[in-house]
């Protein structure tokens, strides 16, 4: 009776529709020249995730606007790893996967809200425990693997949940009781407890991406390099450490993409990538500048270059080591926060790519608590707090890092003012990941992009996810927060849910459990004719709506 029936909405513009439609609504995320600071796209309002609206911000192409050659070259900055959704990770790999796979849902590039994908609509039972997904009936697998049906969904999700698979995302489906197909185009997922954010879990991301059983079995151990999806593009060739060629998937269920071919070329060196882009060897540059403000300004100021960005897409969080004696005290953690003028550091050093931030949730998430403000800069109070906590002369702390940048040096200098001696424990990425995941550090940073707020809240705050099990590197365990999070997730009333989320965030903030320092912006650059490059909340670009415009 109360079941939500969500009508099919077209989140993107398939070619056929594009001709009929004149212009399309909305804020352009692509800002020409990058000179103007555009308005923040975040609108933290209650229950925004309840109604899947397409906040897509794209420009439609008429026939005459298309260039004859629909092929582009995109700079890849790191060699992608396995493309098996049960295992894949890291942004550059996820971006490829996002374009070759589909989920039951996908998410809005701006608001992050779940939207229809292979499921054209869904019903949720009154008790919030049963999700019935109605699937599209015209999706085709790439590489001739036939038609997509509900059996594929059942196989894919059970595969992730199967312990034998060894997927790191198995825990994402902990709350799933069963996945069954009632007919070829209907899937029913039963939950153990209600989850207001469940639609995120079956999105076009990691465990939510749907694979083909026959392809997985055909390729066996090599499946990760021979992925088969239902998305708009398929992998035609992949030369390790060099390039990857994606071609248009003719059988894509929303209609064939406009682009015929995307060539991803691997250029790891930032300066070489800049030259290749300005040289016109590369049409689209992913992950522009990697925080190098000068380079970003230089590229953005070049005539004919457009900058696309996902503002404040993810938060950087400082984690306090659980086994480091001084950080057991809340006053010491607060003193640490008060001793560093993050606002100045971020505004001076990385004005284009970050802004000062104080919540573990990024500003665009609907459930983020706007009452939280940065702890502020107050070295005198920091000294008093340290003295009160029994550290009048400060202490020495080692920060686990992969490199020391200007911001870290400024932090070091500011901490020295209050008597804290910050030392850098510089290690390679492989060691960094291992030690951070194991919780083996005194201080470590983490930037974790996500669309589901629970990924961050449960990840960082729930004792079940305490390192080494999950994201909770500080091994934070506050029973009140745990209860609030669990109640919020199970709540069917949007307002009640939001209130609980707010309260939990406030408690964490008061505890100084983690110290969020900045919200980062992900930038891409593209030459003028390339239209509709839009960076989503996971720093990925959906190439389905992208096309090469005629002229310049």
């Amino acid at each position: 009776m109360n079941a939500q029936r969500i009508p099919l909405r077209l989140p993107r513009l398939p070619r056929v529709f594009a001709f009929a439609t004149l212009a399309f609504v909305a804020t352009l995320v692509i800002a020409c020249g990058g000179s103007d600071e555009e308005e923040s796209t975040s609108t933290p309002e209650a229950g925004a995730s309840e109604s899947p609206t397409a906040a897509a911000t794209l420009v439609a192409a008429g026939d005459a606007d298309l260039a004859d050659v629909q092929e582009i070259t995109v700079r890849q900055y790191f060699e992608p790893g396995t493309l098996d959704p049960a295992f894949l990770f890291r942004i550059e790999t996820e971006n490829i996967a996002f374009n070759i796979y589909s989920g039951l849902t996908t998410f809005d590039p701006v608001t992050g809200a779940p939207m229809p994908d292979l499921a054209k609509s869904w019903d949720i039972s009154d008790d919030g425990l049963e999700y019935t997904f109605h699937l599209v009936d015209n999706a085709q697998w790439q590489h001739g693997y036939g038609a997509f049906t509900s059996a594929d969904v059942v196989y894919s999700y059970n595969r992730v949940m199967d312990e034998a698979t060894g997927s790191p995302y198995r825990a994402e489906f902990n709350n799933v009781d069963s996945v069954t197909a009632t007919d070829d185009y209907t899937v029913v997922i039963k939950l153990k407890q209600p989850d207001g954010n469940f639609l995120y879990q079956v999105g076009n991301y990691h465990q939510g991406q749907i694979v083909n059983q026959k392809a997985v079995e055909d390729f066996g151990d090599d499946y990760g390099r021979n992925p088969v999806g239902t998305g708009p593009f398929y992998i035609d060739s992949w030369t390790p450490d060099s390039e990857m060629v994606l071609l248009a998937h003719e059988g894509y269920f929303r209609g064939r993409p406009t682009l015929d071919k995307i060539t991803w070329v691997l250029i790891r060196d930032v300066s070489a990538a800049e030259t290749a882009f300005l040289n016109g060897e590369v049409d689209v540059m992913s992950n522009l500048g990697q925080g190098n403000t000068e380079l970003i300004d230089r590229v953005a100021a070049t005539e004919g270059v457009q900058i696309a960005k996902s503002e404040d897409y993810a938060t950087s969080v400082t984690m306090f080591g659980a086994d480091f004696e001084p950080f057991q005290s809340r006053d010491v953690r607060l003193a640490y926060a008060l001793a560093i003028d993050y606002t100045s550091i971020v505004e001076q050093l990385t004005p284009r790519t970050a802004r000062p931030w104080s919540s573990i949730l990024p500003p665009w998430m609907p459930v983020y608590n706007p009452d939280l403000t940065p702890y502020g800069y107050d070295p005198e109070q920091a000294k008093e707090l340290l003295a009160g906590a029994g550290y009048p002369d400060g202490f020495t702390v080692h920060s686990l890092v992969t490199g020391v940048n200007d911001a870290a040096l400024l932090e070091q200098a500011m901490l020295a003012e209050v008597g804290i001696d910050l030392q850098f424990d510089v290690v390679e990425p492989a060691v960094f990941n291992q030690r951070r995941n194991a919780g083996d550090f005194e201080l470590a940073g983490r930037l974790y992009p996500a669309v589901n707020p629970d990924t961050l809240l449960f990840g960082f705050l729930h004792p079940d996810n305490a390192a080494p099990a999950g994201l909770n590197g500080s091994k934070y365990d506050n029973p009140d927060v745990t209860r609030l999070l669990e109640e919020a997730r199970a709540s069917l009333d949007p307002e009640e849910r939001l209130a609980k989320y707010y309260e939990a965030q406030q408690l964490v903030y008061d505890d100084v459990a983690y110290m969020a320092t900045r919200a980062s912006t992900n930038l891409w650059a593209a030459w003028g004719p390339i239209k509709n490059i839009q960076v989503n909340r996971l720093a990925n670009v959906d190439f389905y709506p992208v096309y090469v415009g005629a002229g310049s």
Binding site: F89, A171, D221, T275, N279, V282, Q434, G470
Partner: protein
């Protein structure tokens, strides 16, 4: 001579065995877990254990070593942990790029440095100290330029300003003109890195030769100055030059590691860096083994070239 080559190769077998063992142990001694790297962000402890199991990283070290060596004798270098490709494929893909760049760099370097050194020696011999110092200083300045900086400078002027050479793009041997342009800059960078050492040795060696009696004889017989320098002095000064060129192959390979990554060339250097980062043990082992073999081969070849250049040298 064949006998010599065979004997020489067998005598270095212990050295190669040493390299293999050392690399195997060193890789496993440095901290960092390949499973943690492959497993990524949110991997649980149990899932990580499962992954280690699958990758064979849970076996005792000695057993891993025994497996590795027995496979080696069957010419099976194993599979990449990261991509699951056979190591032989990885090396077969990467080797031609590095080999061609390295060989061309040696040719370019030799073509510049040998005449440079010879002319400097001649200038010194004729008492023109200014010209000699000028050339020596030039070689030294070239020597002190870091190759990554030269790379970026060349990119800026020859690629971005003049648009002559692409600095990214695929490896496509079917299109020689494109490949010549694609490889030109890395070859220039690596070639110039060879100049200083080879020019210096050439200068010393030629200078010594120029003071030999038979040079005076040649001159008294009316040989032209050019012929004295390039026909009489240089060939007789060749042995040290060949030695230094052979030795500089080592330096060249370390140079390719940096240059390949800057110019996005999928050669052995790029592979090596990437696989060290991702703790892809089998790939690192396979690549180091290839480097060791290349060194041995280059050394043997250098020795064999001696006998061609100087009949007085007898290999026994």
């Amino acid at each position: 001579m064949l006998n010599y080559a065979i004997r020489r190769t067998t005598s270095v077998a212990p050295a190669i065995a040493g390299v293999v063992t050392l690399v195997f142990l060193m890789l496993r001694m440095i901290p960092g877990d390949p499973a943690a790297y492959i497993g990524g962000e949110g991997m649980s402890a149990e899932a990580l254990e499962g992954l280690r199991e699958r990758l064979g990283l849970n076996e005792p070290l000695l057993l891993q070593y025994v497996h590795y060596v027995t496979d080696l004798f069957r010419f099976d270098l194993g599979h990449s942990i990261h991509t699951n490709l056979p190591i032989t494929t990885v090396i077969a893909n990467a080797m031609p790029v590095t080999a061609i760049v390295a060989i061309l760099a040696i040719i370019v370097g030799t073509l510049i440095s040998v005449p440079l050194g010879a002319v400097a020696a001649y200038a010194k011999y004729r008492g023109n100290d200014a010209a000699d110092s000028g050339l020596t200083v030039f070689a030294m300045v070239i020597d002190t330029l870091p190759s990554f900086w030269v790379s970026l400078l060349l990119m800026l002027f020859l690629s971005l300003q003049l648009g002559w050479f692409p600095i990214s793009g695929p490896i496509d041997w079917g299109d020689p003109i494109y490949m010549a342009k694609r490889l030109a800059l890395p070859v220039i960078v690596l070639g110039t890195a060879q100049i200083a050492s080879v020019a210096r040795v050439t200068r010393t060696s030629v200078l010594q030769t120029l003071e030999e009696d038979y040079i005076r004889t040649a001159r008294s017989l009316g040989a032209s100055e050019r012929s004295i320098l390039f026909r009489h002095a240089l060939p007789n000064a060749a042995l040290p030059i060949i030695t230094i060129t052979g030795l500089s192959v080592g330096r060249l390979f370390s140079g390719t590691v940096i240059t390949e990554s800057i110019f996005s060339l999928p050669g052995m250097g790029t592979q090596l860096i990437n696989s060290i980062y991702s703790r892809d043990y089998p790939v690192v082992q396979g690549l180091i083994l290839s480097y060791a073999v290349i060194f041995v081969v280059v050394n043997v070849v250098t020795d064999l070239v001696y006998t061609r250049v100087d009949p007085r040298v007898r290999l026994s």
